[in-house]
Symmetry: C2
Subunit: 517 residues, 2 copies
């Protein structure tokens, strides 16, 4: 690993004398050029103004905080030679949730983390509402300042908690999707969502400064914004690829999937990367079933059904009485019901196996997952036939997207060495259940690696080495985004995938035993 | 001549489509990189924000205003393709007078010029008073804003006169001495004037932006500040060297002298440059004689004395009755008096030649240059013995400085191909008179070239070609500043030069004839 992106160095600076009376700034720049072996160093005008005082206050014995990439060297600040701790903040800029990590850059220690709601939710939970709002006069400014104010509140909180000055925050890295990145930077998002879907900027040739968006930090703190590939493939996914390490993989071919309402898929390694994104529907996140909810206390996240007794065992978060089921629990439940023969390969309830758990109401069949007397709500937690149908459509969409991208490069799933699942939701999925319902290919289980929140991981990684910064730029440049063409072939693949696990049973050998029942 | 430093180019920009849906900024950058054949282009964040609108307002048919040096390419703004005139402002930042040229960059036409008093004179006519004031709280801010406000007033005036928008001013170049440059930029000058004389900055690695000092212009207008060599050798002299062309001279050795209270001297050519500066005293500018004054209406600027009749012929500016004498007139007068035998080689009045023009008052001898009845003041215009003594000390200092610098490189004055005299004052000097009094070496008269205001010339030149910008940086880097060591040898040279023209008559063959009288 090479040097860090932002680090403190201690150049030898000669005390001025009549024999060596060059200017303060030139003196520091010369010493740094020699120390670092570089030809040019940028110094912001605000620092030029402060340097004479900072140098004399420390009798020219200083250390220098520098930002260095392959192309750019910038002096961020100078401190007393005995040293000052410097900090970075990594930000996962989610449209609903924002995560901020405080990292001490001297030893790369993760000091603290805060998670908070994106305050723009007040304007609209979905991004399209916000984009529409941003097109109105002052709308963009308002959305941006809501966000920046809230971020500053939490930056201040992090600093207060650890008794550090915001002036010691010298770098901020931000990974978000394309629209959120625009709203964060105050760039109009109005042409992102209409044909031909044009962002204002994908890639910054030079990092911005935190003050340019009004973030509380050192006045010269660097602001590293993860680049976008396009309107539908943003910096959050570049951060994901960076965090997965797939672009550092020289031999194995890797696949990275961010499972959500939108399924974003990347395939490749250090030599090539292709990506696509498509709507999978909210069902995979448990967002449609009437008992579906986000992971939280009392939410069922794991399910097991005894194929003999048909008894349902479930696990709830914090072991509280069940109040609902999250995406991973839902995938488990449907997989287990299939294995137990309670639903057939079309996903339809099998009445003789469901028994009295199956009830009808207004012509719709419901399966009682948890009876009222066991539940935390005092009511039955039920799964309806339409819920299952919806999940099957979503998983079919996901599988079709995966198939399409692998076909594009004339490979098969068996060529995949590592299959990374990104996203907080992804970390809860039981891969075997996802395979059982035919959502992901039937690969050896150790192929699957859940990565958790790859946005914050990628955003943090950037501080670890300048190689990661360069890798971020490289990923951005090498990635080929393919538009998912929802044509006849796609629809045929989709139809075939709308079974559990698939019409072509040979694709899922590990599930075949249940299929034949 | 290569490309201009700031110019308008017309890159081919593809209209976005589903097949080519890259972001607006990336699209423009890509087109410009191709058009210019460069690897990187900087785009200020403020322009990134505006680009989506500017591009769509012009259906992606735009021209681009770019700043380009060997190391930096920056997109300043975009305009409708049919073209917009762009302007530059060159500034001679004098401590008493400021000159501003408005230049149309499309055809490099000098559109207009304004000259105005440096408003900081209100705080102090001499620079030391201002430096002292700048060390007080808010003093520096006040000095800077006085200056910037006044400059903005004149920028606005220039724009109004020619009906152009300040938004079309895309570049500002400024040449001033080191202290004035500091006061202009809001950099503390307090360590310039005390040992070991350390400026805040000599050389900017990247140009600043006009908004950083608050100048009225396009919000991304480049601000090119001529670099300093040190506390006593500033950007005005770098501009002088640039304007003289001596650093483009490959064969002839050139000398450049800026004559004033401080004599600044540069010697060399395209291969080497050495410089020094020393106090010559205000006498050369006519600043000591009680009839001495700045050039202006009624001021005597040329004098001729008939060696036979001893009649004094003089020329006044605007042919008005004489009210005083300027530096060049004074040099003429003393040279002519010497030729006419009215003063001897020590500069003392020769009573038998001066006749009744010589009067005594309070033990001091006065020479009546213009009797009261001819003068514009109604009083005698007189030159005193101390006035002449003072002029002789000043000319001796000047000659000693010139001798010292030529000795440093083991050359003699005869090796000099061109002797440039910079400064408005310098353009009025009659070289033969300056030779006669022994102020400058006795070289063929066509060796001497008066350059006028080289600060404004150099500052304007920068816009003509990026080669001049690179030359400015090169001059800064190649120049060797030698401290004038006022040691015993210097004092011996100085003593020998305190005669008209010199104790060593062989140094001034063209003056020898008068000497022998």
């Amino acid at each position: 690993m090479t040097e860090r992106l932002i680090r403190v160095v201690r150049p030898e600076i000669n005390h001025p004398s009549l024999q060596d009376n060059t200017a303060d700034t030139d003196r520091v720049v010369k010493a740094l050029k020699k120390h670092l072996g570089v030809n040019s160093i940028d110094v912001d005008f605000s620092l030029i103004k402060e340097l004479p005082y900072k140098l004399r206050d420390n009798s020219y014995k200083i250390c220098a905080c520098i930002f260095q990439t392959n192309d750019i060297v910038e002096l961020i600040d100078v401190y007393p030679a005995e040293g000052t701790d410097i900090y970075g903040i990594a930000i996962d800029l989610g449209s609903s949730t924002i995560v901020m990590d405080l990292i001490r850059l001297n030893d790369l220690k993760n000091i603290d983390e805060v998670t908070f709601r994106n305050p723009q939710i007040e304007i609209g939970t979905d991004i399209l509402t916000r984009i529409h709002y941003a097109s109105k006069p002052e709308g963009l400014n308002k959305l941006q300042s809501m966000l920046i104010d809230e971020m500053n509140k939490y930056i201040q909180q992090l600093c207060d908690r650890h008794n550090i000055s915001t002036d010691t925050i010298v770098g901020i890295s931000v990974a978000g999707n394309t629209s959120m990145t625009h709203l964060f930077l105050g760039l109009t998002p109005q042409w992102i969502c209409r044909e031909p879907y044009i962002p204002v900027i994908n890639k910054f040739e030079r990092p911005l400064k935190a003050y340019q968006v009004g973030l509380k930090a050192n006045k010269r703190a660097m602001l590293i914004v993860f680049p976008n590939v396009g309107s539908y493939f943003g910096g959050d996914l570049i951060a994901g690829i960076l965090a997965s390490g797939m672009a550092r993989q020289n031999e194995e071919i890797c696949m990275l999937v961010d499972v959500g309402t939108n399924a974003e898929v990347v395939l490749g390694n250090g030599d090539w990367l292709i990506a696509c994104a498509g709507a999978a529907g909210p069902a995979l996140e448990g967002g449609v079933a009437n008992i579906g909810m986000m992971a939280g206390p009392g939410v069922i996240d794991r399910v097991k059904i005894d194929p003999e007794t048909l008894e349902i065992e479930y696990h709830t978060i914090d072991d509280l009485p069940p109040v609902g089921i999250c995406g991973s629990g839902l995938i488990d439940l449907v997989a287990q019901m299939f294995i137990a023969g309670m639903i057939d390969m079309r996903g339809k309830f099998v009445p003789e196996r469901c028994g009295n758990r199956l009830v009808e109401k207004d012509g719709i069949m419901y399966f009682i997952v948890v009876p009222a007397e066991e539940s935390g709500t005092g009511e039955d937690l039920t799964l309806s036939q339409p819920d299952i149908d919806s999940l099957i459509r979503s998983k079919a969409a996901m599988y079709t997207i995966l198939t399409t991208i692998i076909n594009t490069v004339n490979l098969s799933f068996n060529d995949i060495g590592k299959f990374y699942i990104a996203g907080t939701f992804g970390s809860y999925i039981n891969p075997q259940s996802a395979i059982t319902i035919g959502m992901i290919p039937d690969l050896p289980l150790d192929t699957y690696v859940a990565l958790g929140n790859t946005s914050i991981k990628g955003a943090s990684l950037i501080f670890k080495s300048k190689d990661y910064y360069e890798e971020m730029l490289k990923i951005r440049d090498m990635i080929t985004y393919i538009e998912l063409n929802v044509n006849q072939e796609f629809m045929q693949l989709f139809s075939a995938a709308k079974f559990i696990p698939h019409t072509d049973r040979s694709l899922f050998p590990s599930v075949k035993q249940y299929n034949e029942k």
